[in-house]
Amino acid sequence: MSIDHPRVTARFPTLKDVLASPTIRSYSTAAAILAAGIGIGGILFFLLLPTLIVLPMSLSQTDYIEFPPQGLTLKWYSAYFNDPDWMAATWFSLKIALATTATATVAGTMAALAIVRGSLPFRSTLQALALGPMIVPHIILGVALYLAFSPLQLTGSFLGFLVAHTVLAVPYVIITVTASLQRFDPTLELAALNCGANRLQAFFLVVLPNIVPGVAAAAVFAFLASFDEATVAFFISDIGGKSIGRKMFEDIDFNLTPVIAAVSTVLVATSLLLMGTVHLMNAHKSRS
């Protein structure tokens, strides 16, 4: 054995020595990885937490917010489904969202065709304008639409909401369908035209079947852009017509009950189901 046994050498190990020893090195690497893991785990928990708490809250028996809930009940859901105000707002929003899906998908797909395949003199201006409602703060659009619609008695009306939400939803459609069209080989469409198909036949028999996943995804985005929209809806709603977003905003501000948690859970389930389907569809497509 060597004579300089640690206890014999007088020098006390410095921090540097400790950190340099192989065992500690691997320990500190492990500790660093653990710390990073905990840190990122914390961030992911922060991201998920708000979505995750609405379900247990909606099942809580107490009418004030309690976490974790003491007992489970479905009474807030039945309160939601039996409240005429909530139901009116839900049906109104659903009608608007379905109509918006139709108008935004059709207008957006047509525009995407012209942008990708057509010859437009002012193409980049039009593209920038069409994407404008995504960049312009929604509060400005809300105030502007109220000012424009109010004298025409369009506030709180189906038509008013349809116009406003179509403008808000159409950028998502244009972006999605443009991307699909750019991946689709245009010579197939030219071949169809060469073989005697007219423009409409070429579109419906050749182009559309090829871009239909993109159009379907665009329709889902359009539906949710309308159904989950609250800022513009806040301004163009009135007593006669109130969207679910406006109703929720009011209740969070003035009447915070677990009914909102029940409505939130329904909204979250709808969005996750629709977006999850689109996501899985696209993942499946890109794999095959």
């Binding site: 708000p50 979505t51 108008t103 012209a114 619609f149 010579t187 030219l190 969070i252």
Partner: protein, 296 residues
């Protein structure tokens, strides 16, 4: 949405499609007519009317109020400051998540991606509501703090600027994570391996290779976050209070409480101008960073 940034220009079908513009001008015009009609009725005419109202009375008196009253200037600069803080916070918290998503094995990366997509797909209203419930006086976080003995009485968490920044960071973080993830995914792992082979340590390889090549994603995500934060309404309106007024909530207050529509229109026009200014400014920066990127 998670499509990697494969250079579209190198795929043959794209090159062909960009030269294949075979719809006649008349047909093209017909195709964009519904879009133009919708934009005119639901976007251009209303915004033009709003701007016109801000100059009502033929004077600039409403703008004078925006720029001379200290309260309103404070709100304007406060909004830019909050947007900046939210962008930086999203970047600091979002970068590690994006990095992990790009580097982990498929199954784990999917799990992390789910943590990013689930909040993104949750309505902003629902998320703001959840933050109200978490932060309120007798809410979950205060309950936890009292139970664990950190504080004796409930803390004032909600209706503060901190609450606004926290909730806005939460809402906008996915818009930061996804572009950075795309940039990192497009980065071939060979580059990092080559750097390590040439003797760089893990930190040096990250700083010299991964970080610079992720910058286009960082810029894209930051612009997105910042611009969205400038005009945010729902979250600050529900989570913030009178002490944490932003441009959007000030406009909301002018229209719903004080009913001063011409002044609200002037505030809106200023916010619109600031937003467009930043979009144009950062767009140049964005393309500049892409230009730098192509040098590598």
């Amino acid at each position: 949405m998670t499509r990697s940034l494969t250079p579209l220009s190198s795929s043959p079908s794209f090159r062909r499609s960009s030269s294949a513009r075979f719809y006649s001008p008349t047909a093209s015009l017909a195709l964009v007519t519904p879009l133009i009609a919708a934009l005119l009725a639901g976007f251009l005419y209303p915004v033009a009317r709003l701007i016109a109202l801000s100059f009502s009375g033929g004077t600039l008196s409403h703008y004078r109020r925006v720029f001379t009253e200290p309260l309103h200037l404070d709100v304007l600069f406060g909004t830019i400051e909050v947007a900046f803080v939210v962008t930086v916070a999203s970047l600091l918290l979002g970068f590690p998540v994006a990095y992990l998503m790009a580097r982990l094995s498929k199954g784990l990366a999917m799990a992390v991606a789910a943590c990013v997509f689930i909040p993104l797909w949750t309505s902003v209203l629902v998320r703001s509501y959840a933050w109200v419930v978490l932060l309120q006086r007798n809410g979950i976080i205060n309950g936890l703090l009292i139970d664990t003995g950190v504080t004796e009485g409930p803390l004032k968490l909600i209706y503060t600027e901190g609450a606004v920044i926290l909730a806005m960071t939460h809402v906008l973080m996915p818009f930061m994570i996804l572009p950075i993830y795309s940039a990192l995914r497009a980065l071939p792992p060979d580059y990092v391996r080559a750097a390590r082979n040439l003797g760089a340590g893990p930190i040096r390889a990250f700083v010299a290779v991964t970080l610079p090549l992720s910058l286009p994603g960082v810029f894209a995500g930051s612009v997105m976050c910042f611009v969205l934060a400038l005009g945010f309404y729902i979250t600050p309106a529900l989570v913030g209070g009178p002490g944490s007024m932003l441009m959007a909530t000030l406009i909301g207050q002018q229209t719903t409480v004080l009913l001063d529509w011409p002044f609200a229109a002037a505030l809106s026009t200023v916010l619109l101008a600031v937003t467009l200014l930043f979009v144009l400014l950062f767009r140049r920066m964005l393309s500049l960073s892409k230009g730098l990127n192509s040098v590598y």
